[in-house]
């Protein structure tokens, strides 16, 4: 049974509010996006939604010890198993609760579906003037076979507060699974937020991840996205700058092999003057893997003195790998600085020979050069444990022993 049919039969068996019913009807009317939609031109969901899924299944067999294997062991951890929040920390000035309803901008059918049927997720509210000293690690585990899960999370950061997050979605069942994940982050004045997404899920897992960030004046928000695992990963990052002097930073590293697909769609809406955005996405593609990057930057008419920088650099390490990269700049103000650049290439032969002549084997040399290529984006991550993990995962994927400090 296709995913849409499964969703239909699932929704018929549950109680829903009128508003949600309408959203769901609207979803059924348009269905999942196809490659005819501009935003999904390079990434097809066709095969993914034709698979059989079990909607929001709850499983009882839980092996909690597995948590440690996937955790970076931060002091503060939120742990989900099959949608249920099983553990959350007590942090002064921070309220952490489970799923809550909240309004969102449901501009596409995927978000409509998320709003209509989600019943799991977290709600985090950070008071004003709070600096959370250790990152908050959020782990989502699923154990059941062929699961289709939706999460809906909201984070609100109070004035002058500072907090970092590390998120990981992990399937413990090596079957085809799909997660529709949505997180809304509200950054009040003068806040500093860093959100790290570690996307290293099992080989048959698929993810559609959407993050909407609303920034008030003087706020800085960094989103770092590391795609290593999973067969299909689509990220939608949407920043809305609703005040002066906002800064939005995005760093991405994708290292993909086999038939993996990694798609990063970003959108920065510069609505106010004197703001900045920086995007640095690095992709390494082996075997038959495929990458997509689409970076949209909108500068509204009154948003003067904008400094927007975007780069997408790609290494294609096999003949069958591919990348579609598209900058999309819409600038309606005249006093702005916008730059974008995209490169696609192979490893530098001269550098390879240089390293080999110093005694470094060809596979190691390739891996080191690949690592060097991606490291610029990794260095922008401030959480040391995430950086270390990124280095380790990259070395594993490239099948070498990189012992860098």
């Amino acid at each position: 049974m296709s995913l849409i049919k499964s969703i239909k039969s699932y929704s018929e068996g549950i109680q829903m509010s009128e508003e949600k019913k309408q959203l769901l009807d609207s979803f059924f009317l348009t269905g999942f996006p196809t490659t005819k939609d501009e935003d999904w031109k390079y990434t097809s969901l066709k095969k993914i939604i034709s698979n059989d899924y079990v909607i929001e299944n709850e499983s009882d067999t839980k092996n909690y010890s597995v948590v440690e294997k996937y955790s970076l062991k931060f002091k503060y951890r939120i742990i989900f198993f099959d949608g249920k929040m099983l553990h959350f920390p007590q942090i002064k000035g921070v309220s952490i609760t489970g799923f809550s309803e909240f309004e969102s901008n449901n501009t596409n059918s995927i978000l409509q579906l998320n709003k209509a049927l989600s019943k799991n997720g977290f709600t985090i509210a950070v008071d004003k003037n709070i600096k959370v000293e250790s990152p908050i690690e959020i782990l989502f585990f699923s154990t059941s076979k062929n699961s289709f899960l939706q999460y809906r999370n909201q984070i609100s950061i109070g004035k002058n507060s500072e907090v970092k997050f590390v998120e990981r979605i992990q399937s413990l069942n090596n079957s085809i699974s799909l997660v529709n994940h949505f997180t809304q982050i509200n950054c009040a004045e003068n806040t500093k937020v860093e959100y790290n997404k570690i996307q290293n899920n099992s080989s048959q897992s698929q993810l559609i991840d959407s993050t909407n960030i609303y920034q008030k004046k003087d706020s800085i928000c960094d989103i770092n996205t590391l795609i290593f695992g999973g067969s299909f990963t689509r990220n939608n990052l949407n920043f809305e700058q609703n005040g002066n002097n906002c800064e939005s930073n995005m760093n991405g590293v994708s290292v993909l092999n086999k038939h993996q697909l990694g798609d990063n769609h970003t959108f920065v809406d510069h609505k106010n003057p004197n703001c900045r955005s920086n995007e640095m996405y690095k992709g390494v593609y082996l075997d038959y893997s495929k990458g997509v990057f689409n970076g949209k930057i909108m500068v509204r008419p009154n948003a003067q003195k904008i400094d927007a920088f975007q780069s997408n650099n790609n290494l294609l390490l096999s003949d069958d790998s591919s990348i579609d990269s598209k900058p999309q700049l819409e600038i309606y103000a005249d006093d702005v600085k916008c730059s974008h650049g995209c490169t696609i290439g192979q490893l530098d032969e001269d550098a390879l020979f240089y390293m080999r002549s110093r005694g470094v084997g060809i596979e190691e040399a390739k891996a080191i050069l690949t690592y060097a290529f991606a490291s610029e984006a990794i260095e922008n991550i401030s959480v040391e444990k995430v950086k270390e993990l990124a280095r380790r995962l990259m070395a594993e994927k490239l099948n070498v022993d990189l012992n860098f400090s």
Binding site: D348, D350, A351, F353, Y354, M355, R356, S357, R358, G359, V360, G361, I362, E364, A365, I368, L369, Y371, A372, F373, A374, S375, E376, N403, F404, S405
Partner: protein, 249 residues
């Protein structure tokens, strides 16, 4: 140590080396001089194992083994080192990580255990002192934004760390001012031992004032057309390459 017999090499059917014969023994310093396009860099690249050039014939034997059968990294493990004329920039890798990797790869190939970090750091400090290299240099990215002189000094620093048996210095003097030249030459001289050998490839006699060769060879149109002692370099400087080519004809 090194015996090159009738080495012929070229690129895309265009023969550059047309039968090179050269023998280098432990403890010796050989200078190879020659005008532009004579094949100096091709020779050094062929010894180091660059795949850019096709070997069309001959043998490069190093301590009894034919180097032509080995990959560049295997040649390095045996103790061959090439100081590049144009060292490559590698952004994203610090000098210390690069050298650490080279040493650990070499020791792995030689079935030696890893070097203790403290020993490695001590060695780095000693060699940096030898070459007048300032602290802070180790954390810079490999050759990125280095001046010509810094790049060459970095080459000799790697040589000092890797302790090769045979070092080939390809135009190490180009891009160096006189002070840097002295420091680099001084480093090379201090690293000289009875059991290692050096081939200095250069255009000019100037470097040979500081690194005094035991033998000088003149490479011209892919062949060594004259060999002699250090006085040959002085004569060349005075009379130019035309003198020899006329003499040959």
């Amino acid at each position: 140590m090194l015996k090159i017999k009738n080495l012929k090499a070229g690129v895309e059917g265009n023969q550059i080396l047309k039968g090179i014969n050269l023998e280098v023994n432990a403890g010796e310093i050989h200078a190879i001089m020659g005008p532009n396009g004579s094949g100096k860099s091709t020779l050094s690249a062929a010894i180091a194992g660059s795949e850019e050039y096709e070997i069309e014939g001959g043998v490069i034997s190093f301590e009894g083994e034919n180097l032509l059968d080995l990959d560049p990294e295997e040649r390095a493990h045996k103790g061959v080192f090439l100081s590049f004329q144009y060292p490559v920039e590698i952004p994203g890798i610090s000098v210390s990580n690069f050298i650490k990797t080279c040493i650990s790869e070499k020791r792995k190939a030689q079935e030696l255990g890893p070097m203790a970090t403290s020993d490695l750091l001590k060695m780095m400090r000693e060699k940096m002192e030898l070459l007048n290299i300032k602290a802070g240099y180790l954390s810079r990215n490999m050759n990125e934004g280095f001046s010509g002189g810094e790049k060459k000094r970095n080459e000799i620093f790697q040589m000092a760390m890797l302790e090769p048996k045979l070092a080939i210095l390809d135009e190490t003097d180009s891009g160096l001012d006189i002070d840097a030249l002295r420091i680099v030459a001084n480093g090379v001289n201090k690293l000289r031992r009875k059991d290692n050998a050096t081939i200095v490839i250069t255009h000019y006699q100037r470097l040979l004032d500081y690194i005094v060769p035991d033998f000088v060879h003149v490479l011209y149109d892919g062949k060594i057309i004259k060999s002699g002692g250090k006085e040959l370099a002085l004569e060349l400087e005075k009379k130019g390459y035309d003198w020899i080519t006329k003499e040959i004809k």
